[in-house]
Amino acid sequence: MRLLLVEDEHDIQTFLEQALTEAGYQVDVAPNGKAAESFAQANSYDILIVDLGLPDQDGISLIMHLRHEGVRAPVLILSARRSVDDRVRGLELGGDDYLTKPFALAELLARLRNLLKRNVPHNSETTRLRVQDLELDLLKREASRGGQSLQLTPQEFVLLEYLCRNAGRVVTRSMILDKVWGMRIQPDTNVVDVHIYRLRGKVDGNQQTPLIRTLRGVGYVLKER
């Protein structure tokens, strides 16, 4: 996977480059818009990370320009701005994603994987999800583990479906709030944890192998194997 990181802050550049390389990406770093343009011309990238606050130009203009030049790869926008620009919303609707600084590395990686997955023709016809012995019937909205039916509330079903779709990948609390509840909030309290705790009680309650794992300070993961 080839990735172009457009970021001017040296410290962030360094740790991101390291973390992304460790995660298996082949990373090119552009410190400004000009460099990003020449990188994008010279190579073909699978995904781009673009910081909005570049020294020579606005990140959005850069994305527009790259799109105009025929770059189709998904873009993860990094923003230090507090309020989300309408144009960012527009890009988000167009399939790209954004993260506000500071962010959890795990969240960044999770969102990147999401974007890449979204870019691959995705089988929307799926009516069943299966992770180990956990099975979800998306039409009947029913879940079972090891053949035993699970009594889930509609909300819990949606949450479990989200975890299953991202099985093996870390999902953060803010991702869960964003994608399951449709809210970009950061509660001071443990609202998401309690939902997970309840869900875990039903899914992993009397099982030998727990599926839902907590990664403290980061989020949750549904084990694939």
Binding site: D11, F15, A80, R81, S83, P102, L105, M183, P187, G217
Partner: protein
Amino acid sequence: MSSRSDKSVMHSAAWRISLWATLAFTCGTMIVFVFIDRFVANDIQRRSDAWLSGEVEVLGDVAERTPDDALYNRVVGEVAELASREVPNKAPSQDDDNDSVFFLQIGKDGALKLWVGSGDGQAQLEAIRAHTLIIERPSSIRVRGIAIPFRVAAIAMKDGGRVYLGLSERDEQRVLRNLRLRFFLLWLSLVLLGFAIVFFTTRRTLSHVRGINEAASRIGQMDLKTRVPTTQRNDEISQLAVTLNRMLDRIESTVIQLHTITDSLAHDLRSPLTAIRGKLESSIAGTRDDQQLETIVSAIEELDRLTDFLNKSLDVAEAKADALRLTPTSIDLDALLGSMVALYEPSMSERGLRIRFERRGPVRIFGDEGLIHRMIANLFDNELRHLSSGCTVTVYLDQSAGGASLALLDDGAGFDPEVKASLFTERIKGKESTGHGLGLAFVGAVVRAHSGTIAATNAESGGAQINITLPLTSAEELSHQVVMTS
């Protein structure tokens, strides 16, 4: 629809101004017309009196000089007859039937000597006898059987007799009547024309004011980019619009400045925070030691709290300057609250709290969904932190003409009396609170940014109560939104 617009026209300032202006104009023109009428009536009377005085003198002279023989009656009668044909103000189409003038001569004994006119003159004689006529000064006399009075002049003769010349006031009255009718029609059309002119000009003028008002209230609610409409004319209203726009330019530039400051502050703090967080996270991967891992994770958590504090402080600072950035859409507050209650319910019940949502159906408001989400989250977080186990939180949502009203009531200990008065001020928190005292300040800020109201009280039962009202989506905003999204 038309009756509604009629009603609104009759309630408009333009209508009131035109009514008062027309009333003043009506009174003014009426006074002028009354004066003209008096003047014209006096002038007509003066002219007919002059004619009467002249003619009676001539007739008296003729009667004096004519020998009192058999031809006397014929001679004097003919002269009187001729005189009556030169009556002033006589209607041209009137026939020769001479009932508007009479000539009457009485002898020394007061008996009728000569009569020229229609009828036998007895009624006129009677009327004249009833009056003490001042010689040579014409006056009005009513004659029995004739509706219209006569103007009569008299002259004394040397033989002790008298000559009277009477002129019916009929022609005079007709002239005056015609005049008044014309006056009245002229006056009526002037008044109507005046009303129409005043009404349309004031309405036109005030429509600019209305435009300015509508634009200004839109600006007050959400966006600072719009300007009030200006006109080409350099009158007071266009000056007002220009002044308002200049004021808005200044406010906008101040707000932009504030945004720039908060943005750069946020940026300057966020970049190092991002770097620190990233480094801490990277170091987790290489750590096997549990205690070290614990330290790193708690550092990350502290960092996240710091970020949250930074975000909320900047939001409250912006909101205090009425510069909170909104991206408003039409939101169903009922659905939004429903999903937030569902989100918080497990946490509440884990803490031994109950949450109830009393709803009455959809309530649409025009607001920033993200901010409203964060506002409700703050309120619920607050309850989670401060309520003791066993308490119930009740959320009421209703709508009235005043807007959407949202109430949050609990049966806990209520607000600390020391902080109650300044709950929505930042850094104010109860003694036992572990938060940074920005939660309710932020809630207050979001409500104000949406032109709503917020109040916190302790309920009679002792619990804390927060009442919020938010303006409902108006049809205009809905259509505006449809236009924007389509």
